[in-house]
Symmetry: C2
Subunit: 591 residues, 2 copies
């Protein structure tokens, strides 16, 4: 009923099959994107630790080649089959070479043999776990869940190739067609940024930088000009590949996430040079989009953004979605700020970019004008920003008062009923409070959390993590823990009965955020790193590591207090619960 429109599509066709001695190869092609993949296999048969030859029977179907071996073994013998695989694809090799390279890699693997390959694998994973592991004591289900998620995230994206990105299902299912969503910028980048070399997060940013031309072309098609860019909602190669107007044309907030990811990366890594080398062009193109997309309302005497879908996809075609308007305003201000920064610190880059994108002062001034006068819907009565114009016309009945037989509403209600209800699929206003928490005081965060969280049905896997983080921030540790469990065990417990469609890879990054930013209170606003560790009642302790600007910092928290260990050879200054703390090299601070 609420399946994606492309649910029944096939993604692959088989081009060729090849047999060569012990080896077998299938060459296939993705239908729309035209990627070629060559898959090779070769089996080694081992009897009591010695390779043996066994006659094989070969059979094949349209999509498979099967090798069948029959042999007699004696009682007490150990018989093993080692299957080697060689995978190559056309992004890395010419089409005509795919078979040869696959064969070479396959033979390289079988020459090394199983034991050596296993050892290499061990070493590689040990390195990953060394920085990525999170240990939770006193809650086996929580411990199992976070490790399962960290494992899957690393299975999905290693970060070496900026042409690759992260699909919501990773490689675990064909739903969402392996495409990239704003999930990467909003949820995944912090995980890879904190557990891997900064080049990994940078590669994810460069992925979008390389697709800027396509985003400009996309915006042009929709009537924008002067190099304005609209990044696609769903993409493989930079082109939009979703097909519903309320998403592709209207869920434009994703454009802001592209800029937020740059801001987040620069704040965390200190790599301001990235703005000069890549970021500025993206930021300018997106500021151009927002300044054109906003129109002046003579009635409100403000700039408005009409006809959008916010992060809460249970609303379509609304006017003045607060999150979108706020993000648009911020993007334009951030553009102006970074142009000033480039002029000051990277004048040559500024001249190069200004020329390339034909930027002039009047255009920059227009961004400031629109940003200054953007309309942000607000309720005096509730003292909260409103999700969109007219939100208070809805019947604001808390989701908890809905009967269980009506949940999840996306399986029980017709679409129009969902749309006119107040129910929120995933954080919308609160997504903005999460992104820009440093710009709001605690009282305001509490007010907005208390207004919106009761209306939130969390029918997106990306919803609980943001609520978990904000709940921890406002000391609702029980709520934070409830939301944490909901996000972390989604696939292990399969409580939505959908794991056959694949795992929720991008929301797994949200689970990591729930611990590190939620309970750990890690933030990286204003070019500095801060923590405010808290712990759920039923945990004894937890610990995690982060890589921060060439330091590895280990954070430990139990009910008595917290400890920070600086593994690196240079001191690092952080802030803990509002106090500045310098941790010397190889030193431990107990608070």
């Amino acid at each position: 009923m609420n399946e994606d429109a492309n649910y029944d599509e096939f993604f692959w066709e088989i081009l060729d099959r090849k047999e060569s001695g012990d080896e077998a190869y299938i060459l296939s092609k993705t239908l729309k994107t035209g990627f070629l993949v060559c898959t090779g296999m070769k089996n080694e048969l081992i009897l009591n630790d010695f390779s043996i030859e066994v006659e094989k029977e070969i059979s094949s179907t349209d999509k498979s080649i099967t090798h069948t071996y029959k042999t007699m073994v004696n009682s007490g013998d150990t018989f093993s089959i080692v299957k080697y695989g060689g995978y190559t694809q056309s992004m890395n090799h010419p089409d005509a070479e795919l078979y040869n390279v696959s064969q070479r890699e396959l033979n390289k693997a079988s020459d090394l043999g199983f034991e050596s390959l296993l050892e290499k694998q061990d070493t590689a994973w040990e390195k990953i776990w060394y920085t990525a592991d999170i240990m939770i004591s006193g809650d086996i289900k929580a411990q199992q869940a976070i490790r399962f998620n960290i494992f899957q995230l690393n299975q999905t994206y290693s970060g070496a190739d900026s042409r690759l990105n992260i699909g919501p299902k990773g490689f675990t299912g064909e739903k969402y067609g392996g495409s990239t969503y704003w999930d990467t910028e909003a949820y995944c980048i912090p995980f890879y940024m904190s557990t891997k070399d900064k080049q990994v997060a940078k590669n994810l940013l460069i992925y979008r930088y390389n697709q800027l031309d396509k985003a400009i072309e996309n915006a042009q098609k929709l009537g924008f000009n002067r190099g304005a860019a609209l990044y696609p909602m769903v993409t493989m190669n930079g082109e939009e590949c979703h097909n519903e107007w309320e998403i592709t044309f209207e869920e434009i907030h994703r454009n802001g996430a592209m800029v937020y990811a740059i801001y987040n990366y620069v704040n965390y890594t200190g790599d301001v040079g990235y703005i000069a080398s890549h970021g500025m062009e993206v930021i300018i193109a997106i500021a151009r989009f927002w300044s054109q997309r906003a129109t002046f309302s003579a009635d409100k005497e403000k700039y408005v953004i009409l006809g959008v879908t916010g992060p809460n996809e249970y609303e379509n075609n609304v006017n003045n979605n607060w999150y979108t308007n706020y993000l648009a305003k911020w993007c334009m201000e951030y553009a102006v700020e970074n142009i000033a920064l480039l002029k000051e610190n990277y004048p040559e880059d500024y001249v190069r970019i200004a020329e390339k994108v034909t930027l002039d002062e009047s255009e920059i001034n227009s961004w400031t004008q629109v940003a200054d006068q953007i309309y942000l819907p607000f309720s005096e009565k509730y003292d909260v920003f409103l999700q969109q114009d007219g939100f208070l016309d809805k019947e604001l009945i808390p989701a908890a008062e809905l009967s269980r037989s009506e949940r999840p509403i996306n399986q029980k209600w017709s679409w129009d009923r969902i749309l006119r209800s107040p129910y929120i699929k995933q954080a919308d206003v609160l997504q903005g409070f999460y992104f820009f928490e440093n710009l709001f005081d605690q009282e305001s965060i509490i007010k907005h959390f208390d207004f919106y969280e009761p209306l939130t049905v969390h029918e997106s896997s990306l919803s609980p993590c943001v609520h978990s983080i904000l709940a921890a921030k406002i000391d609702r540790i029980e709520k934070a823990y409830e939301m944490y469990l909901r996000t972390s065990r989604l696939d292990l417990d399969d409580y939505n009965h959908e794991v056959h469609e694949g795992l929720h890879i991008t929301s797994m990054a949200g689970t990591w955020l729930s611990i590190v930013q939620g309970f750990g209170g890690m933030r990286n606003f204003n070019n500095s790193l801060s923590f405010d560790p808290k712990i759920p009642q039923n945990w004894k302790s937890y610990s995690f590591k982060i890589i921060y600007r060439d330091h590895i910092i280990k954070v430990f928290k139990n009910h008595e207090g917290c400890k920070f260990y600086n593994e690196s050879d240079t001191p690092v200054t952080i802030s803990v619960s509002g106090k500045e703390v310098t941790i010397f090299n190889k030193d431990l601070v107990i608070l």
Copy 2:
């Protein structure tokens, strides 16, 4: 680009072919609805007025049978082929009888022969034209256009069968799949009501009465209860057969048109008994829908209707579409009024119906409560009702200021741009002013016309007629004439390059309305008939006839004045330009 989603669908399959002497038959079936149709043919070959036998060659394809005749004729001979057809379908005969009945009808026709059939046809059309014809003197293009339209309307629907209705393309094209839209109630009924026996319009009403159960089932699926009904936007057998949420779930104003058609019919024919026999059940079910669909806004302290699409389909999922809210309010009030009428004048019917639909007083009171407090968006500044909440946030640039290269916007702009623009596809607020003109004063009609017409792009064929009628009402005869030409010659001049898709049958009824209600100023509010004839500058005169409550009234208008001739045997009282006039039987009144 903006083709319907089912544009490439096939609607038919062939079940059987049969040959029998000179005859050939094809039995086919509509794919979704499962109607069977048997088509028979038989040719008569005539040489110089005498039937002759000619050897035929038979060939056939999947979908056709071809008879080919070859014979020698001498110079000066007249050789004719008369092709007789026999059509039968499964709504009228058992499936197994279709072939036999088709053969019987075919032979009946060929036994009568061409000349007799032609004579019958002549007589039938003469009868039709006697009441339906409109004569325009001094404007050949306008004369040709209206006759073309009247002919096509009569080709489409004869009115004898309440199981049949009118598709927007009639039988001239497969677009819209032959289904029924609210066009019937909003535009077609007045034409058939005024040019044919009242039973014809009644049959169109009964079509919906017979589908009430399906409409109740449809509403139930969407979460409504207690016998609330939502008629489908597009239907063949009472089930919804459109597939876009913004239309099926949200373009709910069509429900109001069902009630308006009953009101219109009763006002025109005086057949109050129809309310008791059929109408009341429909009216109650629709009042129930509106009272449930409206929700109370604590913010506005009014009932609101959220998430709708109005007649202007260039807006989707808006809140408080004035037309929808006004119509909903009126439907509930009309329900209460007719329940009172039944209690008073048809007490047995009232008891029967109240029992059948389990009606109670508290429910009736709730309709009054919702109707009394329904929110109608209004602008103090412009002194007009607003098409919907937030309409004034748009950039209100008149459509005339758009460059020609951007028109029609539905072929040049992306959907989101259309949605956030102020441009109106077809009359929306003005559709309400057309339906309920008697409830607004002239000044208010002028204000609304001047506010909305400049924003209207008339990209629906149903748009110009309503504007033509209202323009005539407010003495903008030139505008009315411009709109009249636009609607009446749409297919003849094919100025939208789409006539290959079929003719705009339902908008042809609008063309008739443009003359009779527009220039002629005919109205039938408050159980009485009135006229206010006006004439375009370049016409010498025009005349039309209407059948009104057993009277045939002929209306003639030229630049000197107007004449009304009562062809019937009893006097009739009408109102002309505000003055009551009684025309005696067979009498002429010159004004």
